[in-house]
Subunit: 208 residues, 2 copies
């Protein structure tokens, strides 16, 4: 029942908004009573918090599995996190949208709990960037904290536009983004004047 | 007066939410009457639309100046757009937050107008990426449309976390992000086994 309440609330909050959805509408949608609702939740706000917490706990669980994997390099872990966030759009888009849009309706103690979880997700990501630097996989000059915000931006923004059933698959988007993140967009020799001419050793070169 | 109404509405919508703010509160906050309000706006929704349109028109105006500059390379234009969006956080954060959060309250025709403006901003950005590819500044293999979404993600996400008066300045963040966008995070030689040894021609090299 609790799961059902949460599911229908996700639908309603996403479509109508948190403020515009009443407890009455939520229980009516699954043929339950207000009594049943208040057995599980003290208030509509507590249900909103439950949606946000469950969304974040799920992401944190998946992230922990990835970063703790002793077989993977930091680059592979980075790829796995990008892929995970993009794949979550299919299953968790509505929760994510509610989370970002309605967070301000949470009570202060709930907001503090949510913020701590978000921070943990970000700090683990940042730790991965730092580890990648320490292992020589990523550039030593990186500003790990700001780069992490950039990485989060690339994937989190996808919730606003990516259609998993559109022309680009989750796998393809992951490849595009990971290549972008690792190598950037600049053409290898663009603007490095003289590098081409000065580079000898091209076996089988043309004579002209 | 219209400007004043818009300014106070931005404050109230941002703090309390669009639905939770009444026309009465807006006019009271500047000592005006409802009559004055309805002289300028047909409804609270029209005022919301005006806030979103003015926010987007301003961004589009700045973007047009940048992309039309015949003196700048595509790389310089890219930098200028990243810088522009980051600098807009200081002056336009509240409008941006209202825009993203309350857009769903707009009437269909207003929403269509807003969407067309957002699309224009994105398509101009994408055009810049395509031009950069054509001129050899950016990699020919790039998926211009998806890369543009990635670029938008990096800067738009900043509205959620960047504090212009914090430890990192707008200029510094622009430098960090542009370097990330152009060159990526991967260490130059990481994983490219054998490249170092095979590359001759290092004048003044060490003998050891």
């Amino acid at each position: 029942m609790k799961e059902k309440l949460r599911e229908v609330a996700i639908e309603l909050f996403e479509r109508k908004g948190f403020k515009e959805t009443s407890v009455q509408e939520i229980v009516e949608a699954i043929g339950a009573t207000k009594g049943a609702f208040y057995y599980y939740y003290k208030s509509k706000e507590e249900l909103l918090c439950d949606i946000c917490v469950s969304y974040l706990d799920d992401l944190l669980r998946q992230q922990a599995c990835i970063v703790q994997d002793p077989e993977k390099s930091c680059t592979e872990k980075l790829r796995a996190i990008v892929h995970m966030v993009i794949c979550n759009i299919r299953t968790r888009k509505k929760s994510a949208r509610i989370f970002f849009r309605e967070m301000r309706h949470l009570a202060d103690d709930h907001l503090a709990e949510i913020r701590a979880k978000r921070r943990l997700f970000r700090k683990r990501y940042e730790q991965l960037v730092r580890e990648g630097i320490a292992r020589g996989e990523f550039k030593p000059s990186l500003h790990a904290e700001m780069i992490t915000f950039g990485l989060l931006g690339i994937t989190n923004w996808s919730y606003y536009w990516f259609r998993p059933d559109g022309g680009i698959s989750e796998e393809e988007l992951t490849d595009i983004f990971v290549d972008f993140i690792l190598h950037g967009i600049k053409a290898p020799r663009a603007g490095e004047s003289g590098r081409n001419e000065a580079e000898p050793g091209n076996s089988g070169g043309q004579t002209e």
